[in-house]
């Protein structure tokens, strides 16, 4: 009996200490919700996103004067809020738009986060950001490219990444430049999955190319396919000069394997980030995908540069090389926290105003954007991307435009 009473007392004391401790800490901690696919078929992307945001958390919460002009790095915590620390609350969207929406609701109403970021898949960013809009909570997205996300007239949604319309321009200019160098690029096939991301990017590219008088062949497939032979045979039969691939990792890997099995090599294979930027794509099938072209805004930079230091921190955290997707997610998060810092408050309206006033220069960014500045739709108008190529099957190198290129593009596509 006595022992039980003692135990009760100890428990009560522990709870009391826990509660006061929490209350004290809460004054200095700013919670930000991050929704990513931590399970399900896109979990590898979610795991990498989590590592990226944890590195960002470290950079913000601790002093990192070696990172140069990067905002928030110099001192520990947020200077604008008396050195407050940020804490990322991760939530799993399970690869489902409905779950992503529920998680946004939970983060806002129960975790009381001051802002949200995520949710990797465009289709899930679509539903999760609608909840943030309803509750008047800022949502900054760094990686979803479906054009319609910023066409909804939302007031609380901001996006830092280059989007489908920017990508069309990059692809078109790249192809025009290649044509000028005597490479055939007249017939184009667009291969894409049937998700929000796949269809919307494909539609935007198709529309953009049609304006220029090109009429791409459209080959759609159901994402997470068990077999892609029919699509590859269709390509083999139609023989397009350029194949543009829009796929998540699982299908990107299966495409690479099937193309080798069917001995099909398009003269030019141009891919749209996501699956093709996943480190596990390179590890699994990089050696049979030599010469794949991809778009990217990330470059490691010379040793000792802020980007190289960040890449190093990320490698230590995740065990993988930094890729474009993880980098864009991290950049989006930095922009969000920078706005909170400048707002000097966790009041949503003040953060929203600070986001609207964002004007970051290239030297303040880790990604190769021309800056960050939002239009009235919340889209970064200074986002940009370069073309990279997996020449040796192990590492992407920037190949276009010439000003950013480390090597000249190698064509035709080598494969294996």
């Amino acid at each position: 009996m006595q022992f039980k009473q003692l135990l009760g007392l100890v428990c009560a004391a522990a709870i009391a200490i826990g509660l006061t401790g929490r209350a004290l800490a809460e004054d200095k901690v700013i919670k930000i919700g991050a929704i990513f696919p931590m399970t399900g078929n896109a979990a590898s992307a979610g795991v990498h996103a989590k590592a990226a945001l944890e590195v960002a958390e470290d950079i913000i919460n601790n002093a990192h004067p070696e990172l140069g002009d990067l905002p928030l790095a110099k001192n520990a915590g947020l200077a604008g809020l008396g050195g407050a620390k940020v804490q990322v609350i991760f939530a799993d969207n399970q690869g489902s738009p409905a779950t992503g929406q529920n998680q946004a609701l939970r983060l806002i109403t129960e975790e009381k986060v001051v802002a949200l970021t995520g949710a990797y898949q465009s289709g899930i960013t679509l539903t999760a950001s609608a909840i943030a809009e309803k509750y008047g909570i800022p949502f900054v997205n760094g990686e979803s490219v479906a054009a319609n996300l910023t066409e909804r007239g939302f007031k609380w949604f901001f996006r830092t990444t280059p989007i489908a319309t920017d990508i069309v321009k990059v692809y078109y200019d790249f192809l025009a430049d290649m044509k000028a160098q005597g490479i055939k690029a007249d017939s184009i096939a667009l291969v894409h999955d049937n998700t929000e991301y796949g269809t919307s990017v494909a539609n935007t590219i198709a529309a953009g190319f049609k304006e220029k008088g090109l009429n791409p062949l459209d080959i759609a497939y159901v994402s997470n396919a068990t077999d892609l032979q029919s699509q590859v045979l269709q390509l083999k039969e139609k023989k397009p000069d350029v194949v543009i691939m829009i796929s998540y990792t699982s299908d990107a890997i299966l495409f690479a394997k099937t193309m080798q099995a069917q001995d099909y090599k398009p003269p030019m294979l141009l891919c749209d980030d996501s699956g093709y930027s996943d480190p596990s794509f390179i590890k699994s099938v990089g050696k049979i995908s030599q010469g794949v072209l991809n778009r990217s805004s990330w470059s490691v930079g010379p040793p000792g540069s802020p980007t190289a230091i960040i890449a190093d921190m990320y490698r230590k955290k995740s065990g993988d090389e930094m890729d474009d997707t993880a980098g864009r997610e991290m950049q989006g998060f930095f922009v969000l926290v920078d706005a909170i810092d400048r707002a000097g408050s966790t009041d949503p309206a003040k953060i929203q105003a600070a986001l609207r006033a964002t004007d970051l220069k290239p030297n303040q960014l880790m990604m190769g954007y021309k800056g960050v500045k939002f239009d009235e739709k919340g889209q970064n108008i200074l986002a940009s991307a370069v073309i990279i190529q997996l020449q040796d099957g192990e590492n992407y190198v920037p190949v276009w435009p010439k000003a950013n290129a480390a090597k000249a593009p190698v064509l035709p596509y080598k494969g294996w």
């Binding site: 078929n41 795991v47 049937n194 497939y221 077999d227 039969e237 099995a261 596990s280 794509f281």
Partner: protein
């Protein structure tokens, strides 16, 4: 010329569909055994396939050997797991309501999936392309040796399981338990032993399928979700408990999927497959080779 090439590609599509279908049949045979014979819907079936894939991957990374060692290892490992699962979980939930069976095996699926997730991480893994001899051309058709091997093994597994069930006393005992466990027990057959053996065989066949699929497919903890659903369709189309039925159904689904993906577009192939599937069940609910 163009026409000749078109029909040639069509032949390639059909051959590819047959090889795909053989793989569907291969990983469905284990499901048809437990579903048809014990009336248990094993939602963890796809994750058994996934475990077989990881087993093959581990054997390859540790010893640098291909399916020759990976396949037997995966088969034995999964057979063992089948017995453990039977005694630890299935035996008890079989006595419960249907809902307990569904939730029990579904819980098992999540447990297996996320244990692998925790241990191996979320990254996609892959075995080398040429682990079973790459791809060869036969009469101008391109055939992946790994898929051909899986197809041939599927035929042997089907034949083996069919003979086991119809020609051996062990098979008769298993069928007797499936039909009436109490009556079988009165005849001196131990239902527990028979069912444990059935689970060992079913899980072993599934592990074997996984190890073979790993030679041409990517490996990821959630791969069971992608493959699992096909197994359920294959088994119900083939007829519950009918091993040859699963083979024919698998081949049929493989060819229909490939052809419709090629001719009318991939996003419509599921419509074709499921319309045929539903209309077939309308006229013949017991499936292709199921007993009435």
């Amino acid at each position: 010329m163009a026409r000749g090439q078109m029909s040639f590609i069509l032949v390639q599509v059909i051959v590819g569909g047959l090889l795909l279908g053989a793989v569907y049949a291969l990983f469905s045979s284990g499901l048809t055994l437990v579903w048809g014979m014990m009336n248990i819907v094993n939602f963890a079936h796809g994750d058994f396939v996934m475990l077989g894939m990881y087993a093959a991957f581990v054997v390859f990374t540790l010893f640098g050997v291909g399916p020759l060692a990976g396949v037997p290892f995966a088969t034995l490992l999964l057979a063992l797991l089948g017995v453990v699962v039977y005694f630890a979980l299935i035996r008890d939930i079989m006595k419960g309501p249907m809902l307990a069976q569904i939730l029990g095996t579904f819980g098992l699926a999540l447990l297996l999936r996320y244990s692998v997730f925790w241990w191996f991480g979320a990254n996609f893994l892959s075995l080398p392309q040429d682990i079973v001899g790459g791809t060869f051309a036969f009469l101008g058709l391109r055939i992946e040796a790994s898929r051909l091997l899986a197809g041939v093994v599927a035929l042997f597994v089907t034949l083996g399981l069919h003979l086991l069930l119809t020609r051996t006393s062990l098979g008769s005992k298993m069928l007797a338990v499936a039909e009436d466990a109490t009556a079988a027990q009165l005849m001196g057959i131990r239902p527990d032993t028979m069912q444990a053996i059935a689970w060992a065989i079913a899980a072993g066949a599934t592990g074997l399928a996984g190890a073979l699929i790993a030679t041409f497919f990517y490996i990821v903890p959630t791969v069971g979700e992608t493959l699992g659903i096909v197994a359920f369709v294959t088994v119900s189309l083939g007829g519950f408990g009918s091993v040859p039925g699963a083979l024919i159904a698998g081949l049929l689904i493989g060819v229909i999927e490939s052809l419709s993906a090629y001719l009318i577009g991939d996003v419509y192939k599921d419509i074709v497959v499921y319309v045929l599937f539903l209309s077939f069940l309308w006229f013949r609910p017991q499936g292709l080779m199921g007993k009435t």
